[in-house]
Amino acid sequence: MSDQLTKIRNILKEHGRLSKDAESLDPSADLYQAGMTSHASVNVMLALEGEFDVEFPDAMLKRNVFNSIASINAALSELQAA
């Protein structure tokens, strides 16, 4: 699980265009408030799909899924359990 969180943080660091350090960001912190644009969230989504070999279904393509490290982690866990 911590390895998954590390990978999520690395992806946010590379693709999220955050104004804050993704490595030290609180898991519940709002990523959009931290500078992630709608375009950046698309890049984050595609990078997550590539890293974890999953595909986010339409139902998960919404703001609150990519809102925080914690919500992304929960969504990935749900996809991996399916």
């Binding site: 375009h39 595609l46 393509l61």
Partner: protein, 168 residues
């Protein structure tokens, strides 16, 4: 050639530029009973180009319909700005219809281009359902790009609500 905001202004008065209505007029009361929604988005063209380079077809096909891809790809030098403007239009629509918490495919929002360059919106799937639920009768889009920036504005007009309070 894309219909830019500048050329829209030259085509005559729009709803936004229409002459003010008399407060007690029938026209004014009908206008007040409707709901006007607006959304806008600004996108950096070079970052769209980076996404295309990084993720390739996966990025393009996830966001854009076949028709949008065909038009944007018809000119390699203009591809990134065309995709950028269209992505801005999709995000502007999401804002106008408050769809950010509705899970939907970006391809459910399509920018169509007429031969004269005028752009319009076509909604599919969940986006269309949401627009119908909101009583949207008309939706208009305007795209523009200049240098490294592309932008879009979407305006939606909903039908008068039968429960809307009567004026005065």
């Amino acid at each position: 050639m894309q219909l830019t905001v500048k050329s829209l202004e030259s085509m005559g008065p729009t709803t936004q530029n229409a002459a003010p209505m008399e407060p007690g007029s029938e026209e004014a009361s009908e206008f007040r009973a409707r709901t006007l929604r607006v959304g806008t988005d600004l996108v950096q063209v070079s970052r769209i180009a980076e996404s295309i380079e990084r993720f390739g077809d996966k990025f393009i096909r996830r966001l854009f319909t076949e028709n949008e891809i065909a038009y944007a790809s018809s000119s390699a030098p203009l591809q990134a700005e065309r995709f950028a403007a269209r992505f801005a239009a999709k995000e502007a629509t999401i804002k106008a219809l408050s769809l950010s918490d509705v899970g939907l495919d970006w391809k459910h929002i399509e920018v169509q281009r007429a031969e004269n360059g005028a752009c319009s919106l076509k909604l599919h799937g969940a986006a269309r359902a949401a627009a119908i639920d909101a009583g949207v009768r008309e939706a208009s889009v305007s795209l523009s790009h200049d240098g490294d920036y592309a932008t879009a504005v979407v305006v939606c007009l909903s039908a008068p609500s039968p429960n809307a309070p009567s004026p005065n």
